[in-house]
Amino acid sequence: MTVFSLALKENVRQRVNLILILALPFPLLLIPANDYSFPFGVNLYGMLMFYTAFLLARPIAEDRMKGRIARIAASPIGIFRYLAGHLSAYFMLLALQIGLFVAGSALVHRLEPRAYLLLAPLYLSFAVMGVAFSVAWNSLFRSYNLSFGLFAGLGSLMCLVSGVSMPLAIIPTGVQRYTMFLPTYWLPYGIDALRAQRYPELLLSHAILWAYAAAFILAGTKRRL
């Protein structure tokens, strides 16, 4: 059993993960459209993805918290292969969730096809950032329960002020100046850019999400064994 298959198996065993991936994206499709943005479910799905990424990243956190990482580090497998195996398993599950949501949105919202072609990669970039953020966040704690408890509050707050769970348009500009430092800000920013067909800004949101992802992965794997 490879690292990838172990990470996949560990996550698929959790019923809550299956519900998050296979069922919860669909109620978001019922949120109606408005005049100034895509149907808000398109934004709000980012919050679901952020929490899903956090729960999927649990095995890597538990390997460290339960001391298994010491045994793994003593084996000839390199840290890069270990991380790659885990992250690709999480990413695959998130990609499945994204695929289901985008397909559902195409059926329900019937936006122009090009929007979906650009929206799916933006979600994927956000998913990568979400997993990386979870790895870095978990590395700060010795207990997963404490980490999750604090993340539940912090994640909601981040999503709220950065326009994921509340339209960016109704957040005061003064606040936006600060919330743009939050990684979650760059999903609604990219979605708005996509709707307004401001493609350089869409590319900017991709670039910043990946930069955050790289920084979080580095921070999350620096911790002493």
């Binding site: 490879t2 172990l6 198996k9 298994r68 084996s75 000839p76």
Partner: protein, 310 residues
């Protein structure tokens, strides 16, 4: 030499965890590291496995410098952690399969090794069961088994019997001996004297980060000049009789412990013929003779009993 550690120094926040620690392990040898908690056993093991950078000194494994990056060294070591580092939500087979694959085993070879190791650790009937349904002893055995799939030449066991029942403990001790008879070198750390006595061909006694003494058990006992202890239970012990015993030149010391005379005799000296006539009028109830053991060695060399520090 399979392992050679020279003058190892490791500090945590300025505090010495290893203080010029030395260790040598030969081929097919079982070396016991004995010391109380905090003696530096786990630190030395983690440095040896390559998980912990050291501040000074050298570690050589299979004749190569261990810096934690040499994959060939890692491939030849089996590391049994002190904690249970297995996946409790998975089956025993999944655990063995995963840890085997970390060492490059795959396909039929991996399957064959899983069956073989499961047999060795006595879990062949339970391979499909989830680990969380196992007893503490079974989990410990699986924890060991996960380190053996790749047939390591050096097996490092860090307190592998913590928190298990005596039956499982005996199983593990016998198993360690069988590993050594199969040609593997074993480093076995423990703070249980009887375990180290039972498995190790050579013993290192550690305290406060350094080696206090090392050698075979007879060598270590010889270092403390091998006093023998004779315990004589009588109806009523009396100070006057103790003074009479102390007047016997062959006896080193006599202590009264309730209705018992605890007599210390230098190694190799026979004193029974002089003790018995003095104690007979007291009404001897029982006589026991205790030869010095590893606990006495530890007590003599460190000035404390192992369990005090454990």
């Amino acid at each position: 030499m399979v392992v050679e550690i020279r003058e190892l120094i490791k500090r945590f926040d300025g505090k010495l965890a290893l203080d010029c620690f030395n260790l040598e392990v030969g081929e097919g040898e079982v070396v016991g590291l004995l010391g109380p908690n905090g003696a530096g056993k786990t630190t030395s093991i983690r440095a040896l496995v390559g998980l912990l950078p050291v501040d000074d000194g050298t570690i050589s494994v299979f004749g190569r410098r261990q810096d934690g990056r040499d994959k060939d060294i890692k491939r030849r070591i089996g590391y049994v952690t002190q904690e249970l580092t297995i996946y409790e939500d998975m089956s025993a087979r999944d655990n063995l399969s995963f840890f085997g694959s970390l060492y490059g085993l795959a396909g039929r070879r991996l399957e064959a090794r899983i069956e073989e190791v499961a047999g060795l650790i006595g879990l062949n009937g339970r391979l499909g069961d989830r680990v969380k349904t196992f007893s503490g002893g079974m989990k410990r055995r699986l924890n060991i088994g996960c380190s053996l799939l790749h047939e390591p030449e050096l097996i490092i066991m860090d307190e592998p019997t913590v928190g298990i029942d005596p039956q499982s403990r005996n199983f593990i001790l016998e198993f360690v001996k069988s590993l050594a008879s199969g040609g593997a070198s074993v480093i076995y750390t423990s703070h249980y004297i009887d375990e180290v006595e039972a498995v190790a061909s050579r013993i290192y006694i550690m305290d406060q980060g350094h080696t206090i003494a090392s050698g075979t058990l007879p060598e270590l006992i010889a270092r403390i000049q091998g006093d023998s202890h004779i315990l004589v239970d009588v109806r009523i012990a009396a100070e006057k009789v103790r003074q009479e015993l102390l007047a016997v030149p062959e006896l080193k010391d006599v202590v009264i412990e309730e209705n018992r005379y605890h007599i210390v005799v230098p190694g190799g000296v026979s004193a029974f013929e002089k003790i018995i006539p003095i104690l007979s009028p007291q009404g001897i109830v029982n006589i026991n003779s205790k030869q010095p053991d590893l606990e006495d060695v530890f007590l003599t060399l460190t000035g404390k009993q192992l369990r005090d520090g454990a």
